[in-house]
Amino acid sequence: MANNEMLAMILAGGRGSRLKDLTNKVAKPAVSFGGKYRIVDFPLSNCANSGINIVGVLTQYEPVLLNSYVAGGRNWGLDTRDGGVFVLPPREKADSNLNVYRGTADAITQNIDFIDQYDPEYVLVLSGDHIYKMNYHQMLKFHRENKADATIAVISVTMREASRFGIMNTDGEGRIVEFEEKPAHPKSTLASMGIYIFNWKELRRLLVADRDNDKSSHDFGKDIIPTMLGEGRKLMAYEFKGYWKDVGTVDSLWQANMDLLDEKSELDLDDNHWRIYTEDATEFPQVIGPDAVVDEAYVTQGCHVEGTIRRSVVFTGADVKTGAQVCDSVLMPDSSVGEGAKVIRCLVANGVKIGKGAVVGSAGSDSITLVAKDVKGVE
């Protein structure tokens, strides 16, 4: 079914430098999550589940893995004749040199030609680094019913957290009257989720004007939204209720993984009606050995557990050897924990090997220990 009413543009160019060594070689959207997924699987699966056929993925920082990962869109069933996932890194054009994306808005501006091809009514702008399940079609319905010029998805946060977010101050009808980026004294607790629906013609006009504005930082939050508010446009806040997490730091990435162990958590990945799709691994089923202990754990295909795992999330192909103890930790793909080693309150990065008898992390630590390099064993 050809349906180009709304296409999605996923901003996936950021490094996510607060994730430290985890993003040395890959962009944040390609970071592993929840045993078998990558962060970008969430917006892509949401698009597929919301009936959006055309998705542009704007990449910039370390894009090699991310580009090949999303290209074609087969993993999310988006490889239909009319649709597809299109990788959009900065490119040289006939009338302009190769320019990096200067900001979130500029990334869209540089791809106006791409969007124009499909002549959509609406454009959905998403961030490629959040964990959540959301029906964008519902949001579009809200946008249309309110005859808005733009709709921004917001989530209620605590007053304390509000200073870390872009905060939307709304009137009684949910119309946005003011936007404040990381306010010291927030007036509201509605945080922007970085999810925007724009009427394409309107957005196109604003982006063209923004392109040549030397004073602009070419950012949606800092420039485009304030400009629209200044013009008196109708911007609506669409309140999302459910699980949403910006996994920007090692601690928050660890916590989001741990949330999967909580039966009461709103992040349910075992929902047949809203599956999160990902690449297809060829590893064999997980093997739990004769002396293993697996108590409160989230473990995926290809893992081999001979030791003890408590309150931990174990990713594809990870290996926990005899006598090893893994507690309150996240073991990323293909990592391994040697015989008798102890891993406590850690996030062990992809492929990292922890030697025999080594001890990493501690139960009393304030923050999570990121283990990004091999740890030698103790003889």
């Binding site: 999967l260 075992d270 060829t282 739990i288 989230y298 473990v299």
Partner: protein, 372 residues
């Protein structure tokens, strides 16, 4: 490089499994909770760089058709390669007519149009690892007309009872292919795998149909053994299983709980492909106890699982105990239920009967969709 096409034969009159096979051919049986048996021959072919594959199905094709689809998950080039499902007229009034030769004869026009010089015929109910391209090269070098793959066993008196065995001379020439009568522990079990030139194959099918309407490929080879140079090649590999009855199905799965054996069948240079169902990782809840088991994704485990293989999306309730069992996808083992030595077919739910323990030599079997 020799050009090769392959045939995967999923129906064989010699093999029948009550219960499970009412719903699907043996090739479509769940294996290790995650695979279907046919994933092994098809992955072998794909890994051997053979990408023209015909799968013959005669009964209950639905689950095989759904699972194989057009083969994209088997790493087959979508343009150059092709995974084809071929059907044949099933003579239900008398199963002796359902021979492999008849299935091939029904599709002769397609076989004749194949552009490849050689054919590999391999069964849909055996699990093993083999590089078929290397075997074809061996066949070509030997100068034989037909090569048959066999497994050397010391358990012919108790296992492989529905199989054929090869009687070989010292030069590995095949004197005879005959049913395993169980009289000898040491024998060469025929792995239902044939290698020959396409022309030889076509001649054999036509000749077999002329001589008898119920001849199989094995029958015509036996009659032609003085004319044709038929040789055996011994399969080298640490794991071989023929699934032909409930016991062999159960035991071939359980044997792979031995990790040292499983890690020889599953190696990173020889992936076994299957269709993904996008299920999430396994959630082990507080109080779960799991020992010596293989668990497929999408399960929720609250109880105890020992020496068992659990398929995708299975629910094991609080206080439930599952021992020595094969639990197929999407079934439910309810709170406090105790099962031992059972095969629980897909979508079954054991809720109201609290004890299901097989005391006989054979494992128990619970039918698909049943509530117990």
């Amino acid at each position: 490089m020799a050009s090769i096409f392959a045939i995967v034969n999923t129906s064989n009159v010699r093999y029948h499994i009550d219960g499970l096979e009412d719903y699907r051919p043996i090739g479509a049986f769940s294996f290790l909770g995650r695979y279907r048996v046919i994933d092994f021959p098809v992955s072998n072919l794909s890994n051997s760089n053979i990408d023209r594959i015909q799968v013959y199905v005669s009964q209950n094709p639905r689950s095989l058709a759904e699972h194989l689809s057009y083969g994209q998950h088997y790493n087959i080039n979508a343009k150059r390669g092709k995974l084809q499902l071929l059907f044949n007229q099933d003579s239900r009034f008398n199963p002796i007519y359902n021979t492999d030769v008849r299935a091939y004869h029904d599709n002769m026009d397609i076989i004749e149009r194949m552009q490849q010089d050689y054919v590999v015929i391999t069964p849909g109910n055996w699990v093993f690892k083999a590089d078929f391209r290397a075997l074809v090269n061996q066949h070509i070098e030997s100068g034989a007309d037909v090569t048959l793959l066999y497994h050397r066993t010391e358990k012919g008196d108790t296992e492989y009872r529905a199989c054929n065995v090869l009687e070989l001379n010292r030069q590995k020439g095949v004197n005879q292919i005959k049913p395993n009568d169980g009289s000898k522990p040491n024998c060469n079990v025929f792995m239902d795998t044939f290698i020959m030139k396409k022309e030889t194959f076509i001649d054999l099918i036509n000749e077999a149909m002329k001589r008898s309407s119920i001849f199989g490929l094995v029958d015509i080879l036996n009659q032609e053994r003085d004319v044709l140079d038929i040789r055996g090649i011994q399969h080298k590999g640490s794991y071989v299983a023929c699934i032909y009855d409930v016991r062999s199905y159960y035991e071939s799965n359980m044997a792979l709980l031995d990790y040292s054996l499983a890690s020889k069948l599953f190696t990173s240079d020889w992936p076994i492909y299957t269709q993904t169902t996008d299920s999430c990782p396994v959630h082990y809840f507080k109080g779960a106890v799991v020992k010596n088991s293989m668990i497929a994704n999408g399960c929720n485990i609250r109880g105890t699982v020992e020496n068992s293989i659990i398929g995708r999306g299975v629910e094991i309730g609080e206080g439930a105990v599952v021992k020595d069992s094969l639990v197929l996808g999407h079934s439910v083992i309810g709170k406090g239920v105790h099962i031992e030595r059972q095969i629980i077919d897909k979508w079954a739910q054991v809720l109201n009967v609290k004890d299901l323990v097989s005391t006989s030599e054979l494992p128990g079997y619970i039918r698909r969709n049943d509530i117990i």
